[in-house]
């Protein structure tokens, strides 16, 4: 379920960004204080898309080896 929620948010973010390509590339490369745009966006995607990826791998059955007690 979490996978789907994060997946949808992530996909929606991608679609919004890429369908406004012209505006986005222009604003993001203004420089100066506009530097916050690419940085915040990168953080946003790393949380949302990262969480999606993490859940996706779990759903696919790819999990870390359970550590043996030392």
């Amino acid at each position: 379920m979490q996978t789907i929620i994060f997946g949808v948010i992530s996909l929606a973010s991608y679609i919004i960004l890429f369908s406004n390509e012209g505006l986005v590339t222009d604003t993001y490369t203004k420089g100066g204080y506009y530097a916050a745009f690419p940085i915040v966006t990168a953080f946003w995607f790393s949380f949302i898309h990262g969480a999606f990826g993490s859940n996706l791998l779990t759903v696919l059955g790819l999990e870390a080896k359970k550590s043996k007690s030392k």
Binding site: K30, A42, H49, S67
Partner: protein, 449 residues
């Protein structure tokens, strides 16, 4: 509860340290600082006859007349598309040196290429702590992205990827935060020194000399270090024995000059007089060859004495700190093409987590093997460029065009081969590790019941 308080204090202390080092880090980015003499904007009119053009800069509302430099032809300029233009000023007149379209049109094949490279690059950096950048920047440039934009977009993709990777591997108990921060701080200082050396060489021998110097150092360092790591990996693999601490590290750990530093996760106590210079040297080399991880990880393994698993995990933290600051610098210059960054991230954020969880299934020597393989193949890629650079500085006769193009494709395909080889070794090791972990579970569980 007591543990929670301690944890909070620790996190607060770490954030404080990071905030304090950030101002120091103004020049801490691999691949050199963003260029200064450039303008962004569009060409609105080109006059072939007089060799001039009307340029509307992004930061002004009035057009200006610019002169076309010797290397620029009117046909090379595109109208009404945002370009990045580098220039020189002669007698108050702006003369264009280069003009490249900033945002390439993304076709489907470019889309797919970026995603595939992102996935394998992510897998690699999740596994060995660095990687991807050395192939992503040239890959983007070969798709037609201007060099500065490729470096910037790549840098902006590096820190979110490293952040997710660090988080994952921290949860597996593999990241030594203190070691990472000590290395990052001293590496940042090292980068400053490295850039100074780089500038001195640039001034003395020009661009061609600097290219030659960088490639030379790159190939030598990668072949020597990569060869050493490979020998070690083979020794461990054939012996099948447990990983023993490198003798050099053991000797250095015995040197007792205060202040001593204790690194808990790495399980190492060492004098600050030894750890700091390692970081410094890492940074200096990183500023020169632009891939700090290839030095940082072996440094942490063979000199500090951390295991390959802890070293590669800790490298991700270093990459995050240095990548984040570098990205801010490039973003202020306004050179990040966020579309490229996000396309690579879409795959690399998954790849990096896959690589990170992969490390829980493999032995130390597998990580060393992947590292060595990547380093040696990448060395070939750069080595193929040296004849061209030698010709540039006039140390040999100019290359035959066919030879030059062969060398160029050798250089490019070696990078692809490095990624491919790493991808195959990692996947195979993971599948093998998972299968044997499943079998172990089967054997163990009946007894437990």
């Amino acid at each position: 509860m007591k543990g929670d308080g301690f944890q909070m204090r620790r996190i607060a202390a770490i954030i404080l340290v990071v905030l304090m080092i950030l101002p120091l880090a103004t020049a801490a980015f691999a691949g050199g600082p963003p260029p200064k003499n450039f303008k962004k904007g569009v060409f609105v009119e080109i006059d072939k006859a007089s060799g001039t053009a009307l340029f509307l800069s992004s930061d002004s509302t009035e057009t200006m007349v610019v002169k076309l430099g010797e290397e620029i032809k009117a046909e090379d300029l595109t109208l009404n598309k945002k370009v990045m233009m580098t220039f020189e000023e002669h007698d108050g007149q702006i003369v264009i040196k280069t003009a490249e379209t900033m945002f390439l049109d993304l076709t489907l094949s470019k889309f797919i290429a970026l995603i595939v490279v992102g996935l394998i690059g992510g897998l690699l950096s999740g596994f060995i702590g660095s990687g991807g950048a050395f192939v992503l920047t040239p890959a983007m440039m070969s798709l037609g992205v201007p060099g500065a934009i490729a470096v910037a977009s790549n840098m902006c993709h590096k820190f979110p990827k490293a952040m997710v990777g660090t988080y994952k591997r921290f949860r597996y108990g593999q990241v030594d935060i203190k070691l990472g921060l000590v290395m990052a701080i001293s590496a940042i200082a090292g980068v400053q020194i490295g850039i100074k050396i780089q500038k001195a060489i640039m001034n003395a021998w020009g661009n061609a000399g600097s290219n030659l110097y960088v490639s030379f150092v790159f190939v030598i360092v990668l072949v020597v270090v990569g060869g050493f790591v490979l020998r070690d990996a083979f020794k461990l693999a054939t012996k099948g024995g447990e990983d023993s601490k490198p003798t050099l590290a053991l000797k250095l750990q015995k040197i007792n000059i205060p202040p001593m530093m204790h690194f808990k996760t790495a399980g190492v106590t060492m004098s600050a007089w030894i750890t700091l210079p390692i970081g410094l040297a890492t940074g200096m080399l990183a500023a020169t060859i632009a891939v700090g991880g290839f030095i940082g990880v072996p440094g942490m393994i063979y000199i500090v004495g951390a295991t390959a698993i802890v070293a590669s995990a800790t490298e991700l933290l270093i990459a995050f700190v240095m990548g984040a600051w570098g990205s801010v610098q490039w973003a202020i210059s306004g050179l990040i093409d966020i579309r490229l960054t996000l396309l690579i991230l879409s795959a690399s954020l998954i790849g990096v987590q896959l690589g990170a969880l992969g490390t829980t299934y493999v032995k130390d020597h597998t990580i060393k093997l992947v590292m060595a393989a990547v380093m040696l193949i990448v060395a070939v890629s750069r080595g193929a460029k040296i004849p061209g650079y030698l010709a540039d500085v006039g140390l040999r006769s100019p290359l035959d065009p066919t030879v030059a193009s062969v060398l160029n494709s050798v250089s490019f395909w070696a990078l692809v081969a490095a990624l491919g080889t790493a991808g195959i070794i990692i996947t195979a090791a993971m599948i093998k590790g998972m299968a044997s972990a499943k079998q172990e579970e089967k054997v163990v569980s009946p007894k437990e019941i």
